[in-house]
Structures are given as C-alpha cells and as structure tokens.
C-alpha cells in the first residue's frame, strides 16, 4: 500500500491540516490575551468603583465573546483529522497525547464553560468580586488549555518521557513530568501565550486608535491604550526573552531547524546572525537540493554563536555539517549513518513482529532484552528509527526559504511591536496621543501584522520540523492514512469555505460592535 504512495495524498493531507491549524490559530491568540486584558480592566473597575471602567470592560468583553464563540470547536476538527488522515501517527503517539488532551478537554469544558457564562450573564446577578474572579478564571482556564495542547505539540518536536512498545506499536508515557517539563514545552508554552498577550494588546491599541482617529470614545480609547501599551510592552519583552530561550533549546534538540531558520549552511565559530536577508539559489547543491545564498543580507557579526551558547567562540553547525557529518571535535554523525542504523532497527522491529505472530515467547524475550529494553540501543538507534524511511540524507533538510522567512518575519515584527507599545505608552502618558495621527494609523494597521507574526511562528515551528511529524521517529509521509485523495480535497474545500465564513462573520460582527461602540 505505502509502496504505491500517492504523493498528492500526502500533500493534500498536509494542506488540509495546515489550513485548519492556521484558521484555528486566528481565533486562539486573541482569546488568550484579551481575556487577561479584560480581567485587568475589570479589576480596576472593582477597585475604583468607577462606572466608566465597567463600560470599558464590557465593551472589550463583547469583542472577546465574539472571538471566543466563533473560535470554539474549531480545534476539534484537528482531532478528527488525526483519526482519519493521520491514523498511523495517531496510534503511534496515542498514549502520550491521551493524558494532555484529556486534561485539556476537562479544563476547557469545566472552567471555560462555567465561568464564561458568569462573565457574560452574571453582571448584577453575582457579587462584583465573584464576577471578577470568574473573568480571571476564564483567562487562566484558556491559557491552561493551551498548555496541554502545546505540551503535546512539543513532544512532536522533542519526544521524551516515553518508551516504544514493539508489541503495540505505541509510545507509552513512562514519565509524565518529563513530558510536561520537556524543555521545548516550557519554551513553547511561555513563548506562545505571551505572543497571544502581545497580539491582544496590538488589537486593543489598533481599535482604540481608530476611535481616536474618528474622535469618538476618547476616554475609553485613552484608558484602553494605557492598559494595552503596558500589557503589550511587558508581553513583547517576555516574547523576546522566551524566544531567545526557545532558539537556544532548538539549537540543541533540532539543530537543523535552527540552521534552516538562518539559512546557515556552513558551520563555524563566531557565526553571524542575519538581521535581514533575501535568499537566492546558489550554484552549489547538497544532493539534489540547491543551496540557498543571500542576494542581500544585513548581518550581526558573531551573534548567532552568542545566542546559541552565550559565547562568540561557540561552533554553530550548518545544514551541510548536520547532513554530511563532521569528523573534528564537533563530531556530528552524518545522516547516512543514521539511515543505516535506522534500517537495522526497522529490520529488528520487522523480525520481532514476525516472531510475535508465531508466538515465540523465548525469542521475543531475547529480542526485547537485547534491543527494545536496552537503553543504549534505544538512545543510539531506536530514537532515530524514522531515518529508515528517508531515501537520501538531504531528505532530512526542511524547506529553507519558508523556515527562514517565517522566522525573520516574526522577529522583525516582534521588534516593531516593542517600539509600537513603547511609543504608545509614552504618548498616552504625555496625553498627546490623539494629536499624532500618523501613530494612530500605524497602530490601526498593526492589527493584521500581529496576526501575520503569530501565524509565522507556527509556520516556523511546523515547516522547520519537516520532514518529521515526530522528530527523528516518524516522517510525515509515513504517518498519513491511505484514504482517497478526492475526499481530502473535498474536506479541504469544505474547511476553506467554513472557516472563511466564520472569519467573515467574526469580522463583520466585530466591526458592527466597534462602530456601535460601548453602551452609555
């Protein structure tokens, strides 16, 4: 079946998942950040008793509610796709994903559904303090829900805390804490939620700027901008800090993704960081893949080594080193060796499966002892079993231009947002923000930029991991289910229509509410 793999099926299944995930992620980050901004505003209302703050809180809560409601259940489709389009993958990871996703489901259901109701229906029906607590709990619940999804996703980047069971073909969790505190999960959670805080801050800044441009709701706009610029500035600094941590972790656990982010082909110490660059194909190749060169580049000398390990002298391996290997002190195992070892592991697994079907318990016990229960075999060979499915070493290289541009778009916009929030705070504190129309226009048009940066982060995470669906263990092409390509195309079109409709509905209802403004 797989020998006759329909490549268009893999591509359509990928496209279907990417479309669903990208649309889902349009709704999520605003929920993560706006929930806390609303909670901060309501806290000020409860503390001061000023009814203007209640009006401000209710206005942003309305926009939060629209986004929250339209985004609800869009993530469920991803779970459907796991079972239908990625069944081998789904089975292979089942025990690892089961616990985090179950916790996510329970948290999302109980915390969000209970306290969202109090948030919207509870004004004047429950005490001020109980209402405020509910608003905070919605924010905490939404962010905790994200934690469990991100823990599961991080396991795909850096699989830890499990053993592979050759009898069931499943990875079984042996250490929950290792899965939860996976260094990739810690970085990914902090970076992702703080990027949601940032996106929500830019959203509030942009809409408040629109009111000031229209000379409407000036009190609401100024106060909202004050909260959003402080919250946004704190968020951008946290995003930068967690992004830096994330890069350092990537350099260790996914060095080829790290190298692709920078189009860094030739390893060296004192490696330069590209601040801005445009790629072009060079005359050189690695296998059948063209090596990318820079048509234009602004670089920061030695900084790639510094962000990797804090020192300029740190050697940062390039894509060619990671594929072809090195025999100096850096001692990088070439991919061709990993492919050979993985093929041996795959052969042993095949033999074990045959023996198991014959119910030869003694040979099974021996094979488990020598191989599957042997820590050295697991670390050196079994943890790279996915390489058995690669035809040639250069298949281990992700798409360099997409990874590079996604990373640089995200970083450039990140620095822009630091400046935006800082200037907004300064102008609000000086009381002159309404006079700077140029700044208000920039703030308004920064809303789509925040979404672009947020989506670019996910493109980097997912495209940069290719060809793997689970790093080193399973390539995407081996995880896909052999369903008909036609049905995948059909669902792709249905999703495109459904999600575009939802997005159009969200934008139209939100625009109407914004134009109407808060109730007096």
């Amino acid at each position: 079946m797989i020998n006759n793999m329909d490549l268009s099926l893999v591509d359509w299944s990928r496209a279907q998942f990417a479309l669903t995930a990208i649309y889902h992620w349009i709704f999520v980050p605003l929920t993560l950040g706006l929930s806390f901004i609303v909670a901060i505003m309501e806290s000020i209302y409860v503390k001061t008793g000023n009814e203007e703050w209640k009006r401000i809180t209710k206005f942003w809560m309305t926009l939060f509610g629209i986004n929250f409601a339209l985004g609800v259940a869009t993530g469920i489709i991803l779970e459907f796709e796991f079972g239908t389009n990625w069944s081998s993958y789904s089975w292979f990871v089942g025990d690892i994903f089961g616990a985090p996703l179950a916790i996510e489901g329970i948290l999302a259901f109980f915390i969000e559904s209970t306290f969202v109701a109090v948030m919207f229906f509870g004004w004047n029906k429950v005490s001020k303090k109980f209402h405020l607590a509910s608003t905070w709990l919605v924010g905490i619940g939404a962010n905790l829900s994200a934690l469990w999804i991100l823990v599961a996703n991080s396991w795909m980047e850096h699989p830890v805390g499990m053993v592979f069971n050759p009898d069931t073909a499943r990875n079984e969790m042996v250490n929950f804490w290792q899965v939860l505190f996976n260094p990739v999960a810690v970085d990914k959670f902090t970076h992702t939620v703080t990027s949601g805080f940032l996106l929500a801050s830019i959203f509030v800044l942009g809409i408040s700027a629109w009111y000031l441009l229209k000379k409407r709701e000036e009190f609401l706009a100024r106060k909202s901008m004050l909260i959003a610029s402080i919250f946004g500035l704190a968020a951008t600094l946290l995003v930068a800090f967690t992004g830096d941590n994330s890069a350092r972790t990537l350099a260790k656990v996914q060095p080829i993704k790290f190298a692709a982010m920078e189009a860094h082909y030739y390893g060296k110490a004192n490696a330069d960081l590209t601040a801005f660059g445009i790629l072009k194909k060079s005359d050189k190749s690695i296998g059948d893949q063209k090596i990318m060169d820079f048509a234009f580049r602004v670089k920061i000398p030695g900084f790639l080594s510094v962000i990797t390990n804090g020192e300029k002298s740190t050697f940062v391996p390039g894509i060619i080193d990671l594929v072809s290997g090195t025999d100096d002190s850096t001692n990088i195992d070439p991919v061709v060796n990993k492919i050979q070892k993985a093929k041996v592991a795959n052969e042993i697994l095949r033999y074990y499966t045959r023996v198991r079907l014959l119910n030869d318990k003694e040979t099974m016990r021996d094979l488990r002892k020598v191989y599957f229960d042997n820590p050295k075999f697991i670390t050196d060979t079994l943890n790279y079993i996915g390489y058995a499915y690669l035809n040639k070493p250069e298949d281990s290289i992700p798409n360099v231009p997409i990874t590079f541009y996604a990373f640089h778009i995200m970083v450039v916009l990140g620095f822009f947002f630091i400046a935006l929030c800082a200037v907004a705070l300064l102008l609000v504190l000086r009381g002159t923000i309404a006079r700077h129309r140029w700044f208000l226009i920039i703030a308004l048009f920064s809303i789509p930029l925040a979404y672009i940066a947020s989506e670019a982060g996910w493109v980097l995470a997912e495209v940069g991991r290719q060809p793997w669906i689970i790093q080193d263990l399973m390539p995407v092409s081996r995880a896909v289910t052999q369903v008909s390509t036609g049905s995948v195309i059909a669902t792709f079109i249905i999703f495109a229509v459904l999600f575009t409709g939802l997005l159009a509905a969200e934008v139209s209802i939100m625009v109407k509410q914004i134009k109407t403004g808060p109730k007096h």
């Binding site: 490549l7 509610g65 409601a69 259940a73 069944s87 789904s90 499966t353 092409s477 049905s487 059909a490």
Partner: protein, 79 residues
Amino acid sequence: MTGIDLIAKKVFRFYIEGFRDMSSWGKKVWIIILVKLFIIFLILRLFFFHDFLKSNFDNDNQRSEYVLEQLTKTPPKHD
C-alpha cells in the same frame, strides 16, 4: 426541596435568564455556533471523518498489526 435542588434551580434560572436577556450580537453568535456545530459534528464527522483504525479493525491487536505493518514495510522510493 434540598439545598442541592435549590442550587440547581438557581443555576438553571441563571442560564435561562442569561439567554433570554441576551444582546442581539449574542443571539447572532449563538446561531453561528449552532450552525458550526451542526456542520462539524453531523456533516463532517458523519460523512467525512471516520476514525480509520476504529472503523477498519475490530480490536486493538489488529490495529497494532496494521500500524506495525505500515512502519516496517520497505520504504518507498519517493517517501
């Protein structure tokens, strides 16, 4: 009436009043939610998204066999 009954009644009334007094945007959003859930759970789930392993195999042993077979087959030429 017990304490639990009273609380349940209060919670029920809280939701009923909440939905009854809902703003126009809230009603619109609820219609969209219901249409969305209908499409997701009835159309997509029922017609397009069968769990492949659950619907094609009777038990976990067979599912394991199938996945192992997929994992250990000779890699294709253009994987």
